[in-house]
Amino acid sequence: MERRFHRDLSSLPELSRFVADFLSHHGLSPSNAYDLDLILEELFTNVLKYSSGTDQVAVGLTRDDSTITIALREFDVAKAYDITRAPEPDLTRPIAERKVGGLGIHMVRQLAETIRYEYKDRVSTTTITKKVSPNA
């Protein structure tokens, strides 16, 4: 399944509905929605902050047994932004000394099995795989 979303925070509820529809379509447990929502929100908001493609962002969800592949594609992107190279936040610091930023990608790394990035012909693609619970 692939759907396109406006490059705007107002797309987040639609993204969440897309995940719920996908899980339902594949007979997968709704308990998988939290992790998938979180991965998608963090990737999507990262695009809003750091990248500048067209108004539409394509999100693809595919299933292979108990593995879900999430692919987020942006079009006409002038400069690559590879999240696999993003620095890790320092989570050992006391909260009062924490700096803002980097936490979302850290969470994606915690949840994902694999993360891949490709930039080709001005198309930027981030691909994540995630194991899910199969039982509905």
């Binding site: 987040l12 939290y34 929100e41 963090e42 908001t45 909260i95 009062a96 936490l103 850290h106 969470m107």
Partner: protein, 94 residues
């Protein structure tokens, strides 16, 4: 969709989803409140890094004023995000 209820003095209940879209609303509601504060998250279904940012910002502000922030009744999914953020051991979570 996020609902914010200031229940009694110092007690705030969040219900729904605290994501990047609703974080500004939460920030605006929490900013004028004085500490100590207890955030009841028993009806919070979802939080992302943007929501964690609001909690951290509130903690920093209250800490700077010499007041405490307690975070109460986390659901398992929300607790996992606090753990990913390295906050489970640092915040007063009950």
């Amino acid at each position: 969709m996020l609902e914010i209820k200031v229940e009694t003095e110092g007690s705030v209940k969040l219900k729904g989803r605290l994501d990047a879209a609703s974080a500004p609303k939460a920030r605006e509601a929490l900013r004028p409140l004085k500490g100590p504060m207890a955030l009841d998250l028993s009806d919070l279904e979802y939080i992302s890094s943007a929501g964690i940012g609001v909690v951290v910002e509130t903690y920093k502000r209250l800490h700077g004023e010499g007041a405490a922030l307690r975070v109460l009744n986390l659901t398992p999914g929300v607790r996992a995000v606090f753990r990913f953020a390295g906050l489970e051991q640092m915040l007063a979570i009950e």
